[in-house]
Amino acid sequence: MVANRRTFLGQSLAVGAGIGGISAGGWGALGLVSPAWAKDEPPIGTWPAGSQGSSVFIGITVPRTGTYAVQGEDELKGYQLAVEHINAGHPLIKAISPKTTKGVLGKEVKYGVADDGAKPNQAVQNISRFISENKAVLMTGGTSSAVAVALNKLAQREKVLCVVGISGSNDTTGKDCVRYSVRECFYGQTAAAGIGPVLLKAFGKGKKAAYLTPDYTYGHTVQKSMSDFLNKEGGWTTVTNQVSPLGAPDYSSFLLNIANSGADIFLNINWGHDAVLSIQQAKQFGVLDKQKLVVPYQVPFLAREVGGNLLEGVYAATDFWWTLEDKYPLAKQFVAEFEKKYGYKPEWGANACYMQFAMWANAVETAGTFYPPAVIKVYESGAKIQSTVGEVHFRPEDHQLVRPVIIVRGKKAADMKGKEDYWEVLEVLPGEPLMQKPDAFGCKLGDYT
């Protein structure tokens, strides 16, 4: 090789840059000087350690035991299907995250699952382990809002992104909102705002209402917004509001009061197994024969578990029901894929969890980096995202997804086409007008770094 000035100059420059890179990397590791390639992106949380290999890790904590176990398993299936699709570059993921090829930024997604029994302490312990041992770049969990809120706090402290699973409390993107967490499902209050007008249309004005309210934030806020709306707009009266503890083994004393209250409408705000048991027992106490049941926020698997056609004619608000496949092509694909793999129609928990992972893949691909503040800024850009319930976007102020509320009514046994055809979709209400202002629940997101 004939050396001339040009090639010599080029080689020496390359060597020089190499030395510079190494020294900068060395200093960066010591935390004194940032390397040149990451001047604005200093190490934070599990970044960049968690995304330097050929794969990235997601920590999943779901209840696989206890009151919310059924919903937890459904969530997990949603997560697993999403990971499978992300790694394979499935068309459904590409529809939601157009830049996805295979994996996320070309890295394979791996995950670990731990059972938290819907206990916040256990959930935090599980995820902390995934962060320290596996350098998780993303965490998720939910079903109980207490878990979601605990993970929010962990995410903000550890500076690791969190996408919450099922969580209906106003607090999750309200007073306990954080910069490092986002929520797909709407809050209880939005559900209540959506179903109120439908109830007035269905039952008319001047009705007497009895409430059965679980004794925690979610229950109280939903009860209040329901009764405020119905009493003011429809001239309804609240004849009784029975407050029951979370996970009560028996609802008889509350149901006795409701049965003897003379109400026309029975609004049951309970969730999880509590909802199932209280509805079954309401039947035993004859409440369902005299009063019309309303479930302001439908828990996944409610219809399957309650059984005996107790939900015929019952109005409920929900995040997703599989017959939306007639309306949304992505829902059709999702339902088909899910059923093919798991042998049943997905409930809304599975949908929420699938969407959360898909939207995370989209955010990272759009950001072009796993650097958390950059990913968060993509979420906060409010860009439109294609989803199983049409076009959606995140609100930058509180990280809440703006998405429709689905109003359903329990079908008569005779009208059911197939054994999983429990609900008839009555209305798909745009979410935006139903949502509270972002600061209504005192959300302060906190820092990026």
Partner: protein, 281 residues
């Protein structure tokens, strides 16, 4: 008040099973709650196969009795001579195995058994409406307790059992095969829990975790009533049922606090429980 009676009756039945096992065998069976749960599931299976509630009760109770006997023969028998800690650990381990086995085969989705057609609906008691089946439960449990009483106090087997509680060495030296009696007692005790499990199934739906909560309540009942005492279990059950339901009406959060407070009070005043026997040790 009525809620307390229903709950109390059930607790009395489950507790009497626990207490006769402990009284006779000296084994504290932590798998007793799991027996209650399995009774419910076995009954549910019988019900779906036959459609008959009476057969479901029979199926649930008999299955758990057989399970109890097998458990005694295969495992518990080897633990009579070992320290209490070992017995507690092995029964606790068994309870985990049972719960997870049920979760594995049935999943976490709850199942419900409808009450028999003649006991559905509500009955007017004049001052309030009450579900008919819950009234029936009190009757069923009363009959079961009476049957248990007759077995324990009016048969030769019962005599041996009660003698065994007092002094098992003496019973043994009189030429009676104590081990066979032990097996039968374990079966009967387990059956009481299984029977309660299926009788309770139409009131609350079945989940794999249902036994855990009832186990705690059952222990409190046994302690209040007096460990090893059959009448004590019944009295304790009725008292605990009332405490739980009355407190629930005022503030459900304090139901357990009151229950444990009552237990502490009883222990302070009568360390052996309300109807406790003299210790065998």
């Amino acid at each position: 008040m009525f809620n307390g009676l229903v709950l109390g009756a059930l607790l009395a039945l489950i507790s009497s099973g626990l207490t006769i096992i402990y009284g006779t065998l000296g084994v504290l069976n932590l798998a007793h709650g799991a027996m209650f749960m399995i009774g419910g599931y076995a009954g549910y299976l019988t019900f779906t196969a036959t459609g008959s509630f009476l057969l479901a009760i029979l199926g649930g109770a008999l299955f758990v009795m057989v399970l109890g006997i097998v458990m005694e023969r295969v495992i518990i028998r080897h633990f009579y001579g070992r320290p209490h800690e070992d017995q507690i650990l092995v029964t606790f381990g068994l309870s985990i195995v049972f719960v997870e086995a049920i979760r594995f085969s049935f999943g976490s989705l709850s199942y419900s058994v409808p009450p028999p057609p003649w006991a559905t609906g509500v009955t007017s008691l004049g001052f309030m409406l009450y579900p008919t089946y819950r009234l029936v439960v009190v009757g069923i449990v009363a009959v079961a307790l009476l049957a248990l009483y007759l077995v324990l106090y009016r048969t030769r087997l019962g005599m041996i059992v009660r003698a065994g509680i007092e002094d098992s060495v003496m019973v043994d030296s009189l030429g009676i095969n104590v081990f066979r009696v032990f097996m039968v007692v374990f079966g009967i005790g387990a059956m009481a829990a299984g029977f309660a499990g299926i009788v309770n199934a139409p009131v609350v739906s079945l989940t794999p975790d249902m036994g855990e909560m009832i186990l705690v309540q059952t222990f409190v009942v046994v302690v209040i009533g007096g460990v090893g005492s059959f009448p004590g279990a019944i009295l304790g059950g009725l008292i605990a049922g009332q405490i739980l339901s009355i407190t629930s009406m005022i503030n459900p959060g304090y139901a357990y606090v009151m229950l444990f407070a009552a237990m502490t009070l009883v222990l302070l005043i009568r360390p052996r429980g309300l109807m406790g026997l003299r210790s065998r040790d």
